[in-house]
Symmetry: C5
Subunit: 299 residues, 5 copies
């Protein structure tokens, strides 16, 4: 365990706890009068976002983006990590099993510079930065999509992007779901006196993330559909070429086959003009087929 | 019938009834002043989840996961079993036709160890464990999906997973629907004094199950779409190879057919260089087709 | 017209009217002070479900399942029939153009046995049995679907079920819509004193029907998708076999065509080992193609 | 402009204005104290349905079905026309640029026969008849769909209905959207004293139209899907026949090609039984392929 | 920076600020007592629409259509620009990084002509004209769609519109999303005394834009589906022609191949009538196949 205490301002403390043991957590819980049930929740790394108010202590669980690099197709738990927060007007405790890099940023930018003067203040900063952890990943997804998009739009033959699109969609879908689940805890933060705008800022950040992911989801779905359409169109083209060649050559090959038969009595074979006449006949057949295709607008 | 009574704490009783007959149920109903309509409901094994408050007795029907192994594609009734619960502040009665393994777990873990001290307490444990019965099945579905996913992503040719995905989707869809129907009875549980957090725990469990099933549904739909795309792409590849071969060989086969005709007067046949000239001509045709395909980016 | 009056209990009457004429309806309307607009509505056989309270008379229109056997693909009006109900605390009037078999059941089971003692009582029984008229049809649809499902899952080649699935979907969709439209009138039934549980029973019945139809709709959609997938897969298999055969035989047929040409000066034709050498060459071509397919995992 | 005034009943006037000029509208507006903004709205033929209450004058815009016959694929503005209505308790003014045939019907059936005795009365009749203008078109769409449906269900080969279905879907979709937009103005009509049932009648009419269009939309979507399925199935059948023929004839054609080669030293050609032996060998190949197809259940 | 002040009417000022620097913005903020958080928001060009009321100053962010011509497939930020608005009853400040052409229009049409007499008045005009910026683009999309639609409906072979439809759908989808996000700030405008109708006008404009874009989205989806259907149908036709030709010519080519074999002992070759008999036999085969196709309704 690593436990750190910061003085936010007069009489207000922020306790940041990294990967506590059961016993350490019990101790902390006794000291701050935390409810047993919520303490148990805060120890489960796979817990989904939630909000609860017990015995005048607010308790919320959030998740931040922290992708397991070994799992390209991740579940909610593999893509995001849990952070549990207890707070009253006097203290705020953050508990997380894995490192949460955005917390040190909050400390540097706001605590060290003495820019915070209430628990809501620091809470809002933490949530804003938690949400910010989803920003780079969604930009990365969006840029990948844009490059695939232009590849599909410009080139005649594109490499197969089906699996790549699937991976993007999966990550966007899982992140979108996590953000949807964070709506409830976020909506429970009540602004007090002067921090209405800071709370609003954090909610703007939330809406922005949701919109970005929803835009990626829309775009990946549309691109998948375009991809399917183009693929169907290409099959169509391939088939048409096959059919055109077959329709031209099958009658001709049959005709030359007829005069390749070894019957003793085939009068045409002995005609002086047999060979040129057959050639002319085949040319006529070819021309008829050509105009038939022309009328069908295949050529 | 098997009827068991447990002392939860002072003056609070839990009656667990397994597969009662009509007469036995009547007796119980007389003893605890249960309403006739609700008693009739609690005897129907196929009843859907519901909540009702009659004559100050709360009545709810839940369903727990208990798959009939003979039916891979199960209905709500084949996938889940009913448990009916009557409760007031003084007693709780659970009635079920089939064995409900999670009830004995509740007894061992909470009743025997005297950890419960109100009806809501025990009720919440029962519901939590009822919901828990859906946890292993959804993990199993999820793991199957993950293994199919990596099979599809890695191998060139995959075995046909269409039917397997269909079965997974069907079970996830039915379980998801049962859970949706359980929302109403679960939302009717009102926390009292000290058990707010326990009720919240149970609702977290509910949200977790719903999220897990919804994630399986999303994933199976996405994987089905990926599967369809890859299958369309493969048809495309097959068609292209067929067409490429046909376009190369049909003209050549026609040309050799021409010189296989038995006309007496075919000057080329007597040319010294007839054979090599035809071979060169065919090589030229082949090269032209090759560059045509090259320009079309098919080769 | 057929008009029947039943004594529900002291001072409460149920008037059941079958296919009244305009004049007869007018008479009834005068006697019971029914509003003109509602009387006009109750005469329209195609009217959709609705609820209205005019001049202290409750008026509702329901529809019950009564399929026109000549129309496999039926509209709301061809699949269901209208029943109009007027009621106050003192009387209940049911009006229907076609026979409503479930009404005689209500009479036999509840009126004749004196089991009803209020208008809400009898009203709830009528609605319950109206909804029950949708139960056998949905079971029949569900069973058909189950048999199609196992056919698709087990057999290699299945008969074409597309049209059958379409007919099932259509009927389920129309019934589901009728049930959705009946939600409003059903929600307007207010329980009084002792019949809260009877009303709840009827609402359970409603939810059950809705769930059953929604399950059929989900299942038929899934099965249609499975069907499409399997059909696409089968096209794929067919194409692959065609392509494999073509790729093997087109080069070989070309080679034998070459040595079928009648040029005078083809040195190979006079070689002693010409024939076996060509045969060996073709074997080599075949083996190369075989390994190419092997590497592509098509064989 | 054509302006007509009708006496609805004592002291209540209905002014019907056809295609007024800006100046004429100004005059009317001065006389009845109409708000400038609403007057500007009522002059825009493309305005969407809306409701507004300004200075105690109710203002609503509706649209009625009036298809431009030159545009089979119409927008909201090409499919429907605007009618603007101003009303207080004392007068009602209807303004429309194009002829609204249903207004003369309202006049004949209700005003001339003195059947109306309040502004709400006449307003409700106008809306009812406006909605009625959508009834014949939706029946026409529905009948067309039914005939296409039976064509698809019965015949082996159907003519191409894709474009026809598209046109039906488009019109149903646009009408459905117009009706959805009319929900707000329609819900703002408040019944007074005795006209509650008339208002309800008009709302039934609204629900009926919405249901009819939604049924057409459902049906056309289902039929389109069925159409796609059948088309995919037919491609499948075509492919299978092509493949079966190719697989039978490609090996045979190769074999006869082998013995069509002109090598000097081909011992088989000189065997007495060479010809019948090859024929028997080809028969055996055919039988093997036949059983292979049989096992694959393609024959 | 360019800063312009206009006198709206007695004591009411409109300050329009183009591309302010951080310092300039700070100055303005001090002068009008603007909240720091909102000032920071108003400087972010990529901010999404929002509404906020801080310290009695209303703050809203809107976006107007201003497409980056270099990006055919644009994100929200590339398709639209931000405009931030602060207002109280005494002043209104508009801040935008890029030129907003509709603002000069508002000035010319309303301010210069002294048509405004309250802040709400001028605010409503600005929003109306902001929304109007989406009108020409949606008409352009709609017209393009109409021309593609008639191309698809009329011509036999159409050029490939897949990518064009994708681009239209993308822009419509992004604009629709921006408009959806503007719903919240627009709904926060509260009409005062006499400007209820002006506010309603602006909301009509909003609904109109939303409906237009939603119509484009519906139409483009339908057209994409039609396109897919027609493409599938065309593949079907191509396949059928290929199959018909193959089925006719493969047996015939085999037969002539048989009599092209060079066996010494083939009695038929020496028959006088061998050749005509084979020709007649092939004619019979052709006729049989013809009737088989006839029965299958392929010809
Ligand atoms: Mg997903
Ligand atoms: Mg998701
Ligand atoms: Mg979105
Ligand atoms: Mg979206
Ligand atoms: Mg989205
Ligand atoms: Mg987008
Ligand atoms: Mg879809
Ligand atoms: Mg299902
Ligand atoms: Mg479901
Ligand atoms: Mg979900
Ligand atoms: Mg989901
Ligand atoms: Mg879901
Ligand atoms: Mg997922
Ligand atoms: Mg339907
Ligand atoms: Mg339906
Ligand atoms: Mg459902
Ligand atoms: Mg469903
Ligand atoms: Mg459903
Ligand atoms: Mg289901
Ligand atoms: Mg449409
Ligand atoms: Mg529409
Ligand atoms: Mg509908
Ligand atoms: Mg529907
Ligand atoms: Mg609909
Ligand atoms: Mg329908
Ligand atoms: Mg998009
Ligand atoms: Mg969108
Ligand atoms: Mg829409
Ligand atoms: Mg829409
Ligand atoms: Mg839309
Ligand atoms: Mg449309």
């Amino acid at each position: 365990m690593a436990i750190n205490g910061y003085e936010v301002c007069d009489g207000i403390k922020w306790i940041d706890v990294l990967n506590p043991s059961q016993a350490e957590m019990q101790e902390l819980s006794d000291q701050y009068h935390l409810n047993n049930h919520t303490v148990r929740d805060c120890m489960q790394p796979e817990h989904l976002p939630k909000y609860e108010l017990v015995d005048d202590v607010h308790f919320l669980i959030l998740r931040f983006y922290s992708k397991d690099p070994d799992r390209p197709i991740a579940t909610i738990q593999e893509l995001t990590n849990k952070i549990a927060i207890f707070y009253t007007e006097k203290f705020i405790i953050t508990i997380h099993k894995a490192e949460a890099p955005f917390l040190s940023e909050v400390r540097t930018k706001y605590i060290d510079k003495k820019k915070c003067d209430s628990v809501t203040d620091i809470l809002v900063k933490i949530i804003w930065n938690d949400l910010e952890s989803f920003d780079d990943p969604v930009s990365r997804l969006s840029e990948k999509l844009d490059s695939y998009e232009s590849e599909v739009m410009l080139k005649k033959t594109s490499p197969d992007l089906t699996q790549e699109l699937y991976i993007i969609k999966h990550e966007a879908s899982v992140s979108h779901k996590v953000l949807m689940l964070m709506q409830e805890p976020i909506n429970h933060i009540e602004p007090k006196r002067g921090d209405k705008s800071a709370v609003q800022d954090m909610q703007d950040q939330y809406l922005k993330m949701l919109t970005l992911y929803s835009q990626v989801l829309d775009d990946v779905n549309n691109l998948m559909n375009l991809y399917m359409s183009l693929s169907a169109k290409r099959t169509n083209d391939v088939m048409r070429i096959l059919t055109v060649f077959s329709v031209f050559f099958m009658p001709l090959t049959f005709i030359v086959g007829v005069y390749g038969m070894n019957f003793k009595f085939m009068p045409e074979l002995n005609w002086r003009l047999g060979y040129p006449m057959v050639m002319i006949f085949m040319a006529i057949v070819t021309i008829i087929i050509y105009f038939w295709f022309k009328r069908k607008r295949w050529l």
